[in-house]
Symmetry: D2
Subunit: 342 residues, 4 copies
């Protein structure tokens, strides 16, 4: 059993821990956290050894009645692989610690692509991370775009991607984030950094992205245009996407009109934390229009669950780094263990 | 095994069905729905026999590939007790159908109190519904207030309750409801109807309520003042509330600042649909202040999960109507089967 | 002085009335309203003769202490031109009344384009409505897109427009509209009806649009891509847009990050009702990117004030219908009278 | 003419500047700002001499093409009275500067009451600030409560005030503030600091307050209970409030259901920045209920415009400090100059 440490036990970290615990070939070596709260209490209840991420605050755990297994350095030493799920920018600061203990590490999409060996998406470029030491699992939005682009590229000669990312302002429990009543260009200058981030997965892809921030918390929404060199019908594109295991194509009969009903569905089927690990593409929205300069213009809407779509990707990236399985086997193992697909 | 039919399979109905299925002494006879959607599909997946609530729309289920067990009248005939979880006002229209088949029925808090034998809260007046034919489980807000008032009355001589109910504008999946950016007196004329509704449980209680509607979807928030004839300390009141099985007193160490983190906690502990069946009272908020005219003024905040706090109450009301258990035993059975308390 | 009647005195109607009253060559013959409220009271205070739009409700105005000048038919007879600012779909029902009194009429963008002589945008096709009897001023979104496309077409060989319209869920005072916390594809099927609506102004334009609805009330936001046959720089495009009188290019030094600050600016300069009659384009967002199949891809964000951008257009359409001025003179008169430009 | 300097030219400062400019007995000596933006540009357009509040950033104004009249110290020296409208806590840091130039100063409600000579509300305690050097105009919420309590105290023997303040999360242009979808106890511990703040105006008043924060930007909403020793009818209380010049009692016929329509009304009547300087009390909400321990319980809802209700109070406080007029004359002058009442 591969021993996986998780440094940072917040929105992503706690999900990755549970996902690791559900796999047949790995186990949770422990989790590191900066301060005690209900999440720390639940880590202990789940028998995840709890480590303090910041030495000066270690006694606050004791004050809250929580027993520590040690400091984060101990966890790094204990682990075969570490998943760094700390806030954006902290991961890079942690890298020397992972190097000191010679422990391979995964970072999240909030980190720069510059200090890692590879950026990772299971569907598009698993191989680039096999045996690597430092790998970055790309952000929720880049993951969502990569899963969509990969099959389109294989089938239809993608010429250009244009996407407007209408992003949720904050996660459901982030009471300090806004906006309350605005639609905010973010960033204002175009194109946004999301396109170049997709290029860490698809170096030669022509892609321009725009970002907006709105007063919603449940999921991001992508308004996507892909100019294709070929001329498939909408039905053909839909069939291609339906064949993907990490894309859910929403059927008309489901009566789902937005992110609220998608989360309701996830709750009703019993998903842990009502997570939607898949891109959620509205089947009705998939459309192909004439393009005078190329084949056709494909349009569609997809909703992306910012809290969880990278979770199966992290699990696969662990296998890539530890050379536990190839892409196909890893994805199958992960999907089965978590229960993807509905 | 008592056979329970559920008429209306939306927010409340689907939760009651799952709660019934989890009990040792009852089973789901079937569920009736007005139209096919993802919820109907999942009812079938859970092996709840599916009935059409509206004859003219029955064929739409077939069109959606869903097999029906019959019409709602068949379900009523099949059932020992029916839980009517249809939208407010429809329950009253359904009563003649329940009478025609001589099937006892529960109604929800959106119905008038005038056409039933008793209004029900497990903590406060279970006995009034024992053996009754038509019982109304009071609304989420009235349930929340009743659970709070009952122990205070038993301990501290409640003289008057004043509560401002800051209500969520709609449930998470109700995309058509507002307001988007307003705080709306609702109703404008005071006191609101919520106080008289609490009087269906506590006929002699002096209570004045005010209602507001705000752009939030997760939970209602009650700002509560109770004038007590006695003079307990805040710590004493807190201990009394902590002893209640359907009140969660939020501890300071949990770091919970609003409904978002409460739902996050419910997700993290694995509650089905992240339901919070308990009143959630902030421990820090429980305060006792001087009152020149009486004992003391007690203040506190409690959050109420509008989608689920009545679910255990419905289960208990079934037992009351069917005379399956007394209050204490029923509450214990329900709490154990669902997993209340954290 | 041309006598203009306004049928429908809500969000658009009251603004059009004030804009008409501000012109040197027209006056308000009266306004028709369905029911008394603060807006009706203010119409009386402004000396706009008040007419009842619905005979059966006429006495409600008397009950509210408001004197009526007559019924809407009287207003139509009195007027040289009527501006119909009733809710979408009602305008078409009113057309026979305007025909009966032989009064030319303008309709709003919520109406079908099928029953009018022409659809109108002052910048793009003023001439099509000169002397026409029934003219439709296109919607706020179509107006905003038309103002942008017109100068681009004139300068840079527009090959295709792709726009995602991120729409406010409701106006600030519409407390009944949602969503509260969602991003809703609206419509789900693509492309949206907005593109064909732009084709009522530019019949040969290749345009695909997508619509989303979000929990915001202040302005719509357009995420725009225009594939140009020519290859201008971003600076050149910006200069072209800055030369337009109904486009405000937001300067970096203004420090405006969203619709909230735009409205704040409009308040601070003393605009009536804080109206933003102009398209508001972020200067920083104007960007030109490579396009392998054509000249270049232009991107930009523009905010559109749904309550007011059609107001100067209605004034110009009145002049077109009544043949009071040509496009250039009308736009100059309107802009001067209202005070456009900042 | 009294020369008034305004230090801090944001939400409150710009409104106070315009209000001062509208008075017959005072003029704007200048305004100090920390950085250039559209507000700074508009100050220059209005001929308010512009001063830099922070020396190190002074050159940024020149870079933005804005000419400075000097540094804030120059403004303080130039002024007979300074209104400090800087963010909460900065005012206290500025006090030594005002002392150094021997210039009397007003501070806003975000400052502590400890370092000033008096806290101020025009209706309740104008006299306490006459001739004082350092005066604090209490916050929007305290101003709103003080205006309500003063007439009730005079007429009906106020025994206790209990108020839940449902506060807007941020102002309309504050895109960085939340919550997006939550109702947040703020503060969690009770009673909130608002009650003691009201006691700076009414030292002997028994008042307990509770605060919540919600995703709305337009106005705060107060849910108010006042236990009265006397037993007036609701109509009598309403008449008392209608006689107040800084309370607007909303009439049923106006059809106003929330803050959105109140702002719409303010826009329609042409209020600068759609400001609502008055407490807005729903007439329908004024209710009197039985109280077994005292006279009666009065309930009502009032909406408070956080951006502007303190503006006329600042003008009056200037007159108090400068001994330009007594309370009655000052309030009359201010109201007439601004145009209060509708």
């Amino acid at each position: 059993m591969l021993r996986v440490g998780i440094n940072g036990y917040g929105t992503i970290g706690k999900r990755v821990a549970d996902a690791v615990a559900a796999q047949p070939d790995m186990e949770v070596a422990g989790v590191a956290k900066t301060r005690p709260n209900f999440e720390a209490e639940l880590a202990v209840e789940r028998d995840y050894p709890l480590y303090a991420a910041i030495e000066e605050r270690a006694e606050r755990f004791a004050d809250a009645g929580l027993e520590l297994a040690g400091m984060v350095e101990d966890l790094v030493e204990e682990s075969d692989v570490v998943v760094d799920a700390t806030p954006g920018g902290i991961g890079e600061q942690n890298k020397p610690m992972y190097e000191a203990y010679d422990t391979p590490a995964l970072f999240q999409g909030g980190e720069s692509a510059d200090f890692v060996d590879a950026s990772f998406n299971a569907r598009a470029n698993f191989e680039a991370s096999v045996g690597a030491d430092y790998v970055r699992v790309v952000s929720c939005n880049t993951t969502g775009l990569s899963r969509l682009v990969a099959p389109l590229q294989e089938h239809y000669d993608v010429q250009k991607v244009r996407a407007t990312l209408v992003r949720r302002g904050g996660d459901p429990a982030q009471t300090g984030r806004g906006p309350i009543n605005d639609i905010v260009p973010n960033p204002i200058s175009l194109p946004s950094h999301h396109g170049p981030d997709v290029n860490t997965i698809f170096p030669d892809l022509a892609i321009d992205t725009l970002g907006l921030k709105v007063p919603a918390t449940l999921m991001h929404m992508h308004s996507v245009n892909v100019t294709l060199g070929d001329e498939p019908t909408a039905e053909e594109v839909r069939a291609v996407l339906e064949a993907e295991t990490r894309i859910k194509v929403i059927r008309e009969e489901e009566g789902i009109d937005g992110a609220g009903k998608l989360k309701e569905l996830a709750q009703d089927v019993g998903r842990p934390r009502a997570d939607l690990w898949e891109n959620c593409v509205w089947g009705e929205s998939i459309t192909v229009e004439e393009n005078a300069n190329a084949g056709v213009d494909l349009y569609l809407f997809q909703a992306i669950h910012q809290e969880s779509d990278v979770v199966p990707e992290n699990v696969d990236a662990i296998r890539a780094v530890a050379e536990l399985a190839d892409a196909e086997e890893s994805v199958r193992l992960t999907n089965d263990a978590l229960g993807l697909g509905f």
